[in-house]
Point group: C2
Amino acid sequence: MDATMAYEEVIVRFKQTRLLDSIRGVLEWDERVYMPPRGSAHRAEQVAYLAKVGHAKLTDPVLGQRLAQVEDTPLVKDADSVAAVNVREIRRMYDRAVKVPAALVEELARTCTRAQRAWQEARKHDDFKTFQPWLEKIVKLKREEAQAVGYRDVPYDALLDEYEPGATTAEVTHIFAALRQDLVPLVSAITAAKKQPRRDILQRDFPIERQQFFGQAAAAAIGFDFSAGRLDITAHPFCSGIGPGDCRLTTRYNARFFNEGFFGILHEAGHGIYDQGLDPEHFGTPMGSAVSLGIHESQSRLWENQVGRGRAFWEHFFPRARQGFPGTLDDISLDDWLFAINDVAPSFIRVEADEVTYNLHIILRFELEQALVGGNLAPADVPSAWNERFQKSFGLTPPSNSEGCLQDIHWSMGGLGYFPTYTLGNLFAAQFMARARQDLGDLDSDFRKGDFSRLKHWLNTHIHRPGQRYRPRDLCQRVTGQAPSHRPFVDYLKGKFLPLYGL
Amino acid sequence: MDATMAYEEVIVRFKQTRLLDSIRGVLEWDERVYMPPRGSAHRAEQVAYLAKVGHAKLTDPVLGQRLAQVEDTPLVKDADSVAAVNVREIRRMYDRAVKVPAALVEELARTCTRAQRAWQEARKHDDFKTFQPWLEKIVKLKREEAQAVGYRDVPYDALLDEYEPGATTAEVTHIFAALRQDLVPLVSAITAAKKQPRRDILQRDFPIERQQFFGQAAAAAIGFDFSAGRLDITAHPFCSGIGPGDCRLTTRYNARFFNEGFFGILHEAGHGIYDQGLDPEHFGTPMGSAVSLGIHESQSRLWENQVGRGRAFWEHFFPRARQGFPGTLDDISLDDWLFAINDVAPSFIRVEADEVTYNLHIILRFELEQALVGGNLAPADVPSAWNERFQKSFGLTPPSNSEGCLQDIHWSMGGLGYFPTYTLGNLFAAQFMARARQDLGDLDSDFRKGDFSRLKHWLNTHIHRPGQRYRPRDLCQRVTGQAPSHRPFVDYLKGKFLPLYGL
């Protein structure tokens, strides 16, 4: 078989695994948005079966043979060519997948579907004990996965690599340490500042139907295409890029807290704009797939924070918010509003945290996960370990596990190694935005007019369309001329928050 | 391999095909309820792939071998035993499936997913021309399927058998002819009657949110379990039994016509109660599956019409309707209401038709389908053929194709052979209900109290729990002591409508 034919077979086979993934995507979206409560056990069977079939397809020895028949041929000589990129990335996934036993994959899929339901209940009733056996099982299975995959330094490397290819625990530890060193004094200075926002503004009456309307309009304005997507309500917001023409945002609303719904929507819309910006011609292959979770998160953070919490954005949207919530904001100035939505204060819930303290939430989870995966922390001890570290980082103790270690869905999904990508996303977002501002000149005057098209186009071109042509670190280097770094992010924070707080 | 081991392998393998079907069920539900418009092409790929994989599983020669290793062994000697029933029915499906080429299955699945979207648009814009090429393709593929499956008399037999195992075109033609002979004079007498209902009652203001609330309460009252199900809005209402703990009803509302939403809900809830009444222990095997579409439809019709359009039902619900739609029904008596919801009049839309004329809609479709599948009618000529026959049967000509040949989703789903099961369902419903009334005594006094549990339990026991233990005709014989017949249905119609219209 010649290289071209072998390559074609690689693509056909890999696309089937992605089609199965996308089917699973519909099932998982449904599970979290519309499935009746008693459907959980059957859904777990469906998802486990798809995982098993998908894993069997991805680890089919014929795929390995065909990859070998393409590698080192002229077809993949140009490392940036479509074929070379697809072969490189499919090889990476194949090599990882063949190391994980099929039974473990199926068991993880089944366990995690059911554990999510258990987590939802445990969170609702603040009952860690009912979730603990699930967490124990998941940690055990993920440790087995890490052993099966292998690693150079620590087992956590094997899990992190799944979400952020090429990243290592050591590197992330290094960059997070530097970040923390800058964040801690910044948080102290801000919380000690005399000037403080009127937080109550955001806790006025924001009827949910009006939030839906306003949030959906904002998502459409920044460029999310609703003819190829939707927005629904869920317990733990996410974005699911199911395939060409079908990308789904979810959020949750709080009628007495504006930020939760609105910035949740902007955030997920940022993810959605990435998914919608992928090349549909390459759907199902690495060239039509997102680079990594860190890069994905950079897109959500960029729209949520760099754009959506900025003055220019609200110069356009604040008058519309006044109209959209009649009477609620009549006595509020744009300055009051901007200060309120950018309030920095230690708090319990990660997804509601401000831009500055947010990353301390991540660092806490990153450390706990390493301990869990390394076998240095028993799942039973998670609540006390969480609360202890939380007290150290934030000077507060969560009043309940629902507002502590039960707040996030990730562990119930088996997503150990996932959290660090959130902070990496913040750092990438700052790097990309700084570069976009250099390239595009006065973006703020676009935003003031409600025009986000030049920025979206720049992101489409530089970040979305290349798919997995470059690994995260390389993409960052190519687009920004810099390696991944905490500095642009810290510069952004200081430039924004010091003046805001009169410091 | 001994028979027991072979049987176990048959079950494991067959359950996988059903798991794939149930995954497809989620995708198809989603496609019709929540999928964004531009997701259609990708959804078609997902569904086609599942159809292909499922067909490959069902036609795996190993399944045929294992079946052969069980058949004629003591394990299946008792024809009514679980093993015998499962083997008999899996054999029937295996034999049918191996005759249909995989490429045809995949092509049909892909075509029908996309054709549904085209039908939705065509119906919305009253544009038959845009749907015509899809109909042509579907008729062509279904004719190929009929040829592949084989038949004794006419190709239509092969399609009908998929939905109503054991039924033949000749038998259905015979029973429908007898039915028509009784219906035509009944319709004439009713339309000529002096006494006529106040139709305008149903066209008052019935706000959709209130209809949702009232309809959902009624579905729950008759026994649909919402902890294991949901109710959503769609263009063409259906019920999707996805698996244990997950059964989904859909309906559509018209704020100026009460019947559409409410009786649609009761109808789909009847289907749902059947699905929820199947034995979850046997899920994924014939013993845990519905007998046929005709029997399925008998359950929806029984709740919608025999129960839901009866006096006793409304003695309970009418006071509640008055409360549920404040002010709307204050001047209306129970008699006015009962007469209005049982209005018999020739009309264009099948799903809105009354109990009497409904079956004439089916007979029209049954005849057109035979002509299409037999090659005696070109899809391009469907609109004129439809309108001509409609004029003959109803004395009316549809004002548009949307109210004529474009009104139903079935052909776009490839469901040729499906329609006759609706009228068979009406006939079975009358037979079952007559028997239940004999067995249970005064059911109406239950209904007057809003208690439907004895009837539901009787249906669970006699119809739902046996799964596919008996073929439709045998089930009817066993439960009612009669072969399928139009007489109990005609008796029911006469007993109800002649007094209602003062005849």
